[in-house]
Symmetry: C2
Subunit: 221 residues, 2 copies
């Protein structure tokens, strides 16, 4: 018999940077260390329930769509005993979900994926698998729209895709392809308050996406 | 602490029908029942090692690519105690892998997914999730080519996609789209021995697939 835990990889996007929500443990074997918000599964809860409870109690983040992506069971992934962990993942807007440390955390905070603290155990591997999963998803689902504000500029969308794919995209190509898919609705508004020339705002067309999804589609990036 | 098991959903295709490999237990709480080839994880093996070992000892099927797809942990999924199971999935040619019952099985056999015996525990749900996973995959990866012979006719390919997607596809459309993708190489041979007019044989172009994969692509079915 084994211990079984859940770990959550919660991605967000802010100022064109991909971020992930981490906690710093206040007690236990990982005291003082940073890691993904996770915990052992209790007898009376399903994997999903455990993931939801863990995220809520450790970070204050609640009421979001968590998706299971992989279970990690290497023999040496945890010190001194065998713990198998099932990882969940979510895409949210950090602006909407402040990370608040729970009773067993020194801290809970968002970090850019490009400047992370050292992570405990195999949490770096779990995070990387979550990133790979996000990279695959971004080609076939409009995941970006869960990370941006309701209204966004094409440049914001491009910066997000660049942050996820970790590569620069050609601006005219990106715009042409995105607009060609008809997934974006022109809000007939312009962004205000920016330092640059005001850019057009768009929103996401969920109906068109549902249609495209039926026939199978891909973001050609 | 919980028991943890692995279960394998092994898909094949024969005569245009999608098949799955099942075992009938000879002992234990599921004696006489049919289920997915699975077993408890041992202390000294990783999840992947357990999946490989289980499949080999229960069905004789070895040396195939197993991919983890989901972990099932509902409270009541197993009788009398809590067992969490991680499911793996593979696509092979049943012709190449005869199912041979191990020491703890009454039988091991391939079944068409359309005419299955009653399955133990939640194995029906696990199989259905495996099927959904296969349906999603088939749009973005040339998974079909792992299930067919090296050389195949367009009709065989179409029948396979129809079996996976569980719907009829328009023949001229299917042919046009498949050939348009340039993923198929004309073998300049015709199928022999069939009852019908000899059809052209094709094989799969792995190089073109690798190129398409880089830019993201979809089988428009």
């Amino acid at each position: 018999m084994f211990h079984h835990s859940v770990d959550n990889v919660i991605f967000g996007c802010r100022d064109g940077k991909l971020e992930v929500c981490l906690i710093q443990h206040a007690d236990g074997p990982a005291k003082g260390q940073w890691g993904l918000p996770g915990d052992f599964i209790q007898d009376n809860e399903s994997l999903e329930d455990a993931a939801v409870r863990t995220l809520r109690t450790r970070t204050g983040i609640d009421d979001i769509f968590l998706q299971q992506f992989k279970t990690f069971g290497a023999l040496d992934r945890y010190p001194n005993e065998r713990v198998i962990t099932t990882a969940y993942f979510a895409l949210i807007r950090p602006q909407d979900y402040e990370a608040v440390a729970g009773a067993h955390e020194l801290d809970a905070a968002w970090f850019p994926t490009t400047s992370l603290p050292e992570l405990m155990y195999d949490h770096g591997d779990i995070l990387n698998e979550g990133l790979e999963c996000l990279k695959r998803k971004v080609r076939y689902e409009p995941v970006g729209f869960r990370l941006l504000s309701k209204k966004f500029t094409l440049l914001e969308l491009q910066r997000l895709y660049e942050a996820i794919l970790n590569k620069a995209l050609n601006k005219p190509n990106f715009r042409r392809k995105m607009l060609h898919m008809k997934l974006l609705i022109d809000c007939n508004e312009k962004q205000t308050g920016g330092a640059h020339r005001a850019a057009k705002l768009y929103r996401f067309d969920a109906d068109v996406y549902q249609q495209l999804k039926q026939q199978g589609f891909v973001f050609e990036l």
